[in-house]
Symmetry: C2
Subunit: 356 residues, 2 copies
């Protein structure tokens, strides 16, 4: 293991570079030392123009190519869980961030440093605060402050996807369905009107709900409408006058947020529905020329992304985007997080074949 | 208003004595000064044998009568809410404890002091800590330590009942009905099993439940089975693996606690039911000879007591008991608590006619 303060050498093997990044702790909010090291390492390569905004580093080629591809990864990790420093066991590199997503960042840094003459112009984005509240998300703040830095025809977000292309992402919407009644002492319950009992119809509609499956650009998206919380009650001897069912609707990206809200209101017609939070999904955009070439180069059968990711931020900027990274999404945030060294090498090789 | 430290004179008018007791604050836990004053006032009457246990005072006649009647009231009040000292407006005496239940205590003290030759032997019980947790209840502690002091053929608990006889009391039972499922990310809800959605059947049974009405000793008892709380949920993006519906069953006193528990388990057959708390009801016992004479003397149409009161403690000792006091139960614990002076005088007159 190198000293954490040694400059980053972006020309070493992808697995070794991943280990180097993993051993450079960068829990959300504490990314500055790593952002500094990344910036310095990228500035060492004269074919790149490097910009910085907070702890977000953007590097790009300016070759006047017909297309521009953006490759992005977040620098932060969830809190370290006694899983540093990294170590290798067989083909697996263990440690905090190996899967989510320093392996993807290592691949992106390697491509940035070693592809001085790519067939498309490239923009690399390394950003902070992805693992915490959305308002601090570096990509979101970059998009607001310098949207021109993110201009591209197609984006690859190197979130762990098991080296499979995961197109677009679902949208998400939260709503509260509120039931009201009349309080009374539970010994004289006939004087009250039980708000919890009224939730029966809300739960019936939820339990009988048939979620839609829809194919978009050849990918099947599955929706889901679920209660994620239910709260009701005043005291052990009181007929409650309020009960709230909190629902989460995960919707396919062919619906807008407004359409999703209309759908939820329709499902709960007759009830008091309050939409509390929402985020648009992202269309996979796999029919775009850049995406088609990408798919042909990396191979494999793409699938839909179930979950909301920062690809939706690209989608909101009009940039089609996919998730594609060497990490395993099921290992993200786990104590025994690890990543296959072969997957790191293969992911890099496929992207290099596409762009080289 | 007399000095709070002056000895209590039990021979003054019932309304005046009520005001005197109300102006002698005795919030639960702080009853000692009032218990001391009550004990001293009762000891001034040689026809009474007086015992003391903690802040509980028991006075009795020992005339060798064929029957013994017990008259009880609690000395404590809920916390004072800017509603002391007492004041009179027309026929109404205002102040903390006027209704619940220093008016009843005043009537009992007047009877104790002024009926040296009652037609039945009398036991008067003045106890502490009725308004707080059951484990501190003075009557309960007396029943455990000196059950022989509470021996009687019939008991009158002077809880506020609007000067109407309220017979017995309902029992109460609390149970948790627990639903379990499997957690999953809400973006991939088909991998989970939503425990909140499963509560639909529990709420359906509750909302369709037909509570029983049953006549006992001529009184109609109404039962009720209600959710008083519902809790479920892990986070806004997680399919919850647990949901608990907390139910409260108020049951007529012809069911034992065990029968009530069996009934609740039967209603929720197929679900995980955990009985967390219960208290037996009390039969009205209005067919007992002492009770029949009591009803004839006090007049009016008795009704069932909806709510759990300390009459159940007498019932557990084998003593039939009723609630009968001048206070209005709907004013108990309110800031504008008050009691009719006429009701105080009439309640005393009726009991005096029965016992004199």
């Amino acid at each position: 293991m190198s000293s954490p303060n040694a400059p980053l050498d972006l020309t070493i093997d992808g697995g070794a570079l991943t280990a180097r990044l993993v051993d450079f702790p960068s829990v959300s909010g504490d990314e500055q030392p790593l952002a500094d090291a990344v910036e310095a390492a990228l500035r060492a390569h004269p074919h790149l123009t490097v910009d910085r905004f907070g702890n977000n580093v953007v590097a790009r080629t300016t070759l006047g190519r017909a297309e521009r591809v953006l490759i992005a990864g977040h620098l932060d990790t969830v809190p370290i869980a006694d899983n540093l420093p990294s170590y290798v066991e067989g083909d697996l590199l263990y440690g905090c961030g190996t899967s989510d997503m320093k392996s993807g960042v290592a691949v992106a840094l390697r491509l940035a440093a070693t592809l001085p003459e790519p067939n498309r112009d490239l923009t690399f984005v390394f950003y902070d605060c992805e693992e915490i509240e959305a308002s601090r998300n570096g990509l979101g703040r970059l998009a607001a402050a310098h949207p021109e830095w993110l201009a591209a025809d197609f984006a690859v977000l190197m979130e762990p996807s098991g080296a499979t292309v995961e197109g677009g992402c679902q949208g998400t919407l939260r709503a509260d369905v509120k039931l009201t009644g009349t309080r009374a002492h539970s010994a004289r319950s006939w004087l009250g009107d039980n708000a919890i009992h009224k939730a029966v119809e809300v739960l019936r509609r939820l339990s009988e709900y048939q979620p839609r499956r829809v194919e978009i650009d050849g990918l099947e998206y599955r929706e889901g409408l679920n209660a994620t919380r239910i709260d009701g009650g005043v005291a052990g001897n009181v007929i409650p006058d309020e009960c709230v069912v909190h629902v989460n609707f995960r919707f396919a990206p062919d619906r807008t947020v407004e359409e999703a809200a209309d759908h939820v209101r329709e499902v709960f017609a007759g009830f008091d529905v309050d939409v509390t939070d929402s985020a648009a999904g992202a269309l996979p955009g796999l029919a775009q020329p850049a995406a088609r070439d990408f798919l042909a180069a990396v191979g494999g059968k793409p699938r839909a992304k179930f979950g909301w990711t920062d690809v939706a931020r690209f989608s909101a900027l009009g940039v089609p985007a996919v998730n594609y990274g060497p990490g395993d999404p099921n290992l993200a945030h786990k104590r025994d997080e690890h990543c296959s060294l072969t997957a790191i090498a293969e992911t890099e090789a496929r992207l290099r074949a596409w762009l080289g």
